[in-house]
């Protein structure tokens, strides 16, 4: 007669212990799943905030046409170097030819490449004052700490464009790797073009550098 309640309490204790263990395990698993997920959400928010502040600054500093072009170019160069991973982009753009070039040539290329970008894009912001910028989906690219942020850019006097930004998170900050407007990737286009020039010049990076330098000198 006595043994039965004891057995009952034992089993109920065991059951309670088991339940507690199961609960703990569930919480533990949830925590494992949840924590990195919330970390990712933070990262996505941070990436969006980074882009918003970058585009705000770009329009504030570069859209004003009363500022002399030389001054705007200087500002663009500053923004470009601070927020774009210029060495990585230059390396991607040269593709397989990067490795065959020596360090001096690589450095020379990056310098002239930066000038080309400044000449090309610094004047593009004129008339973009009042542009509406909206962040859309943000997703992580599996490896290499890369994040794709999609956005809609609506200038006051033109049709809205869909622009994707490829970012890389590094040391708690972000750098832009590529800008993809309406499916057209800046880095990819330059890589194809420079690749073609390099192929036709027998892979000589010096020939490419000379051509680019001629371009930037002419653009003034």
């Amino acid at each position: 007669m006595r043994t039965i309640p004891r057995q009952l309490t034992e089993t109920s204790l065991n059951r309670r212990a088991l339940l507690r263990w199961v609960n703990g395990a569930i919480v533990g698993v949830l925590a494992l799943v949840w924590l990195p997920a919330s970390g990712r959400a933070d990262q996505a928010d941070a990436a969006g905030a980074f882009l918003l502040s970058l585009t705000d600054r770009a329009i504030a500093e570069l859209a004003d046409e009363s500022v002399p072009v030389a001054e705007r170019k200087q500002r663009f160069r500053q923004l470009f170097n601070d927020n774009f991973d210029v060495p990585a982009i230059g390396r991607f753009v040269l593709g397989r030819y990067w490795r065959s070039a020596d360090k001096a040539a690589q450095g020379e290329f990056l310098a002239v490449f930066e000038d080309v970008m400044v000449d090309r894009f610094a004047p593009q912001f004129a008339g973009y004052a009042g542009t509406k910028f909206k962040i859309g989906a943000i997703r992580e690219v599996s490896e290499n700490n890369q994040i794709m942020v999609s956005s809609t850019v609506a200038p006051p006097n033109a049709e809205a464009a869909h622009v994707d930004w490829r970012l890389r998170s590094r040391d708690g900050g972000f750098k832009v790797l590529d800008v993809v407007a309406q499916g057209l990737s800046m880095a990819q286009t330059l890589r194809s073009e420079y690749g073609s020039v390099l192929k036709n010049s027998g892979g000589k990076i010096d020939a490419l550098i000379a051509l680019l330098r001629k371009r930037t000198n002419r653009a003034g």
Binding site: D119, A137, N145
Partner: protein, 283 residues
């Protein structure tokens, strides 16, 4: 006469199927239609898929010359003389005339929602919009989109074949060039002209459409050309990326393992990652 049209259509279809069959053998070709695409081929020469490059470059130069002496001046004059409202009406009429072709390709691609949009646009703009002069449908939630048979072929798995620069029409590919031919047969205007004995109605529409489109791109193309060091290669890359984007209907590219942009290796190649062995050499 109708029999000859049907016979010609059958001939084109046969050639097309043969081409598509060839293209489909290229297992590497993704839906974007760029063959030879594979991840992480950093040390391999980027595949331009342009076996006719010499001929293409010649044709490109020819097209550019036509552009400089005829199309661009015509477009600039048109933009200068014709008010923006009228130019928008011209574009609306041309888009409205193209609706049957767009609808057919929407249906071929199984895009029912887009097919409905195209149908509603045609019905609304042809009536309320006064024969297509005003794009009323756009404001009513039926925005314009384009489709063509080249995209339909791509959606069904055809590769681009290879890059092709057509006389006058410019950048294209085997697939998209064949698509252009099929679209002409899908176009009711092709047959209306035959029945009513109107000549050159397709030619006129193509010319006006070309001038209108060019007039909207004058500044963009000038910008593109200004800092280019190989304009042919730049346009080839942009054409492919733009087609891939159109085939995806503008959706963001979600592929993460294969090359994201065209036939070249993407950012997942080792030299673009954090631990690139020579990253310290760049400063």
């Amino acid at each position: 006469m109708e029999f000859s049209v049907i016979r010609r259509f059958a001939a084109v279809l046969a050639v097309l199927l043969a081409l598509t069959a060839c293209a489909s053998q290229d297992k590497d070709a993704p839906a974007s239609g760029v063959p030879g695409e594979s991840a992480d081929v950093y040390d391999v020469e980027d595949d331009d898929n342009d076996p006719l490059e010499t001929v293409n470059r010649f044709m490109f130069a020819f097209d550019l010359t036509l552009d400089v002496f005829i199309l661009k001046p015509a477009a600039a004059t048109y933009r200068f003389l014709v008010p923006a409202v009228v130019r928008d009406s011209v574009r609306s009429v041309i888009r409205n005339l193209r609706s049957p072709v767009v609808l057919a390709n929407d249906l071929f691609q199984g895009e029912m929602a887009r097919a409905e949009t195209t149908t509603m646009r045609f019905l609304i703009n042809s009536t309320v919009g006064v024969l297509g002069l005003i794009d009323v449908a756009d404001g009513w939630g039926y925005p314009h989109h384009d489709e063509d048979f080249g995209q339909t072929l791509a959606v069904h798995g055809a590769g681009e074949g290879f890059y092709l620069v057509l006389p006058i029409f410019g950048p294209s590919s085997v697939r998209d060039g064949a698509g252009l031919v099929v679209d002409t047969f899908l176009d009711p205007l092709t047959y209306v002209g035959r029945i009513y004995d109107i000549e050159d109605e397709l030619l006129i529409r193509t010319a006006v459409g070309g001038i209108d489109t060019r007039s909207r791109n004058i500044d963009t193309i000038d910008d593109l050309q200004r800092d280019s060091i190989d304009f042919y290669a730049r346009i080839r890359s942009l054409y492919r990326q733009s087609r891939a984007n159109e085939i995806r209907n503008g959706a963001s590219d979600d592929s993460q393992t294969s090359g994201l942009y065209g036939s070249e290796p993407d950012f997942s190649d080792p030299d673009f990652s954090d631990d690139a062995d020579n990253s310290e050499t760049t400063d």
